[in-house]
């Protein structure tokens, strides 16, 4: 190898080495470069931010108020336990977003909505429109899509939170416990951020958001609040809301109390809806099939005979039908599509739907309903039943 080729070889090797170094450096520098892309990527230690757990949105005197509940540190002392307390930060503005920015400005630390599990909308804010309260949240990439949305009936959401703090309740934990309890009754929570935002897109139907009641012992979901054209119009009572859950096919379990002193418990239920559109007439068939078990027998009659069991089956069918008829009746009376039938009719009668689409609101009171209720009492727990009947 002559001198020139040796130099060339050396220079080639050097270039290769430099290229490799540049490649490695590129990968290490990449995170720093991309770090400035969104504010989510910016570096912030977890103890330098207030993690918002519950957000209360209220409207009063032309202004929105955002009350954000967060846990305030306290440090870790394994022996003394954490001294963490819940605090509320507030911000006001002409819109909910403006209120949030105001809150950010006023709060000592930066805030993060990423851990917020519940959003409470005060009654007045709800009357202003769901979109007014939720629009800015739906555009925040850090918001959990499974965060739950509630309406606080007859109260400002901020008062709801403040009362909880005054009663020394751990609000976010209580709300979480309520969510767990709800999951025992329903197969899914329909009031998640993603579900509500989806429902809001369906302009022909109403949006249903659970409303909360509070007392000193905790919180309770009593039923659904009805939003027509995204504005709060009414609250459904407990039984009507149960009927909605049956029709939505989200009921996991449900107790039945018959007049003859027999108590049953539904352990499985399945609802199917069928919509037929003929000659501008909509007919909806609601088929509910469920299984129940006897939980309480406070009657002298032997309910375990074939005839009595058949009668009990008939009675429980009637009971459930009466529950289901309530939201149906509400829908007929109010002319509001609380059962989300518009989507059903459209999906099952796509071509005919166009003919009634524009007059859908007028069609709602004229919809005909048919009920098919099928049930089975699956477990009777005969042990000791004889003795108990004699005592009765």
């Amino acid at each position: 190898m002559n001198g020139l080729s040796l130099v060339k070889e050396k220079s080639k090797r050097k270039n290769g080495f430099i290229k490799r170094i540049v490649k490695i450096m590129f990968f290490f520098i990449l995170p720093f470069l991309l770090g400035g892309c969104t504010h989510d990527m910016s570096r912030k230690e977890i103890d330098e931010i207030d993690l918002i757990l519950v957000v209360a949105i209220d409207y009063e005197d032309g202004e929105y108020t955002l009350s954000a509940l967060h846990s305030s540190g306290g440090g870790a002392d394994p022996e003394e336990g954490s001294g963490a307390t819940e605090e509320v930060a507030k911000g006001t503005g002409k819109s909910a977003y403006e209120a949030l920015e105001d809150l950010k400005l006023k709060n000592k630390k930066s805030i993060s909505l990423a851990q917020a599990g519940s959003f409470l909308i005060g009654e007045e804010a709800a009357k202003q429109g769901l979109d007014q309260s939720l629009d800015f949240l739906s555009r925040d990439e850090t918001i959990k899509m499974e965060a739950l949305i509630y309406v606080t009936k007859g109260k400002k959401a901020a008062d709801f939170v403040q009362e909880g703090i005054d009663n020394k309740q751990t609000i976010h934990e209580d709300l979480d416990a309520m969510k767990q309890k709800q999951q025992e009754i329903l197969t899914r929570n329909d009031n998640t951020m993603v579900n509500i935002l989806n429902d809001m897109k369906q302009t022909d139907s109403c949006v249903l958001v659970p409303y909360l009641l509070a007392d000193e012992s905790g919180y309770l979901i009593d039923g659904y609040s009805v939003f027509n054209e995204l504005t709060l119009v009414n609250y459904l009572d407990h039984e009507t809301s149960d009927g909605v859950n049956f029709i939505r096919n989200i009921m996991r379990s449900y107790p039945i109390y018959l007049d003859n002193g027999v108590g049953l418990y539904i352990s499985y239920t399945n609802t199917k809806l069928k919509a037929k559109l003929e000659n501008q007439q909509v007919t909806v068939t609601i088929t509910v099939s469920f299984e129940s078990m006897l939980k309480e027998v406070l009657t002298k009659k032997d309910v375990f005979t074939r005839d009595e069991l058949d009668q009990l089956t008939l009675d429980q069918n009637n009971y459930i039908q009466s529950i289901i008829e309530k939201p149906v009746q509400y829908s007929i009376d109010s002319g509001l599509d609380i059962l989300n039938l518009a989507r059903l009719v459209e999906n099952q009668n796509f071509t005919q739907w166009k003919s009634i689409k524009d007059s859908w609101a007028d069609e709602i009171p004229d919809i005909k309903y048919q009920y098919k209720i099928q049930s089975r009492i699956s477990k009777s727990f005969l042990l000791g039943a004889e003795g108990m009947r004699q005592r009765l």
């Binding site: 989510d40 912030k44 977890i46 103890d47 540190g73 440090g75 394994p78 993060s112 990423a114």
Partner: protein
Amino acid sequence: MEQVINSKAIKELFSQSSDILIRPIKINQNNITFHIFCVDGLIDSMLVDESIFQTMLVDPILKEYQTERSVMDYLLSGGSNHVFTTEESDYQLLLKTVLSGNVALIFDSEKKAIVYDIKKFEKRSVSEPTEEGVVKGAKEAFIEVMRTNTALIRRRIRSEHLVIESLTVGKLSKTDMSLCYISNIANLELVEKIKQKIKAIDIDNISTPAFIEEFLIEHKKSLFPQIMYTQRPDRISANLSDGRVALVVDGIPFVYLLPCQLPMLMQSPEDYANHFFVGSALRFIRYLSMIITLFLPAFYIAATTYQNQMLPVQLALSTQQAKENVPFSSSSEVLGLLVAFEILIEAGLRLPKAVGTAMSILGGIVVGQSAVSANLISPLVVVVVSLAGISGFMMPNQDLSSGIRVIRFVFAFLAAAGGFLGLAIGLILIITHLCSIDNYGVAYLSPFVDIDESNHKDTLFRFPVKYFRKRPQAIVPSNRTKQKTQEP
């Protein structure tokens, strides 16, 4: 100029070495004299006396021979009381064989020597493996003596197809090595390739394992081990049956296996000693531990510094409270504690056992308790780093464990720089790197990346033995059947 065997020249060569013995011995009335040439301390002197001198003194036939050649022929054809007797005419080979512990009788006029294999030197006895101990299984481990190690292998594979080829490496050390393979199973091209690599080693001394390992691996810059070592003869025999090649090096108390793939390094002898379900569960936990040890510190940094939404609410709150009074950033805490952890490990290894234990306790208390009490680190970081550290020790292979310890730092740095994005970049790089490693023509991630389903029966989970019907395709192209498909 080619050197010939001559006692005078050898005497001159070793004139300054006190352990080399060269003594003239006259054996009969015909003035036939030879020189005994050996290394003091490497020979069995009693056996030398019995096999060589006593025979010569009392043997009446030997006294009659008049030439050196005739004496040599007599001794080589059973005249001495020793079986392992050979004639040597190569000067260099004679030096090598004597320096290895053999005894030579030099016949100057013939320019030849008779070599007696009468080695005896201090060595450890075969004991329990220190690194790969099992509750249920063999308790034998390799020692520093090559021939003992090859005997341990031979004892397990009594097939005529087991080949143990001898090689020598090291210009000064002249270290003996044995390349073991089963001739009708192993890929002979692979054997030849390994042999060529070994022959190409041009180094003075094979004093530590790294000296041989680094010459044999193909991707020298990779932190992932590409040559596997084991202390267990049963493991070697199992891998030889799978078509791999074993390399026994004199002076190294373990045996190398080639080619090596990542899943091999995650296997433990215990997996095959237990019920397949237990073995599979243990192996799965090992893989899980690898993920924990690699990613947990980095995950903690990313979640507490960038994407706190990755943490569940309660964990985020407790993390926040734990970190409230700590003056350092999460990344400093984690990296600092990881360094402290490495210092403790290194210090524990260097110190005598008794002091090491005391230091570990001291280190544990200082780091784990006092540092938390002094608000220097948060308790969660101690948990994270300890869990990552302990999980790292789950690796059955020390080389893999050490490599992962270094990569853990890289991931922590990337997470500190870019959160989960940095972590993702690191993960992509590591997967790309692992996919790019090719070990003697076999993919490093094989059999994970193999198309043939039969290769997957002993990877993430250990299937029942009846499913191990085929040898790995990537290693053994032909003669793949391990067992016939039949139920007892």
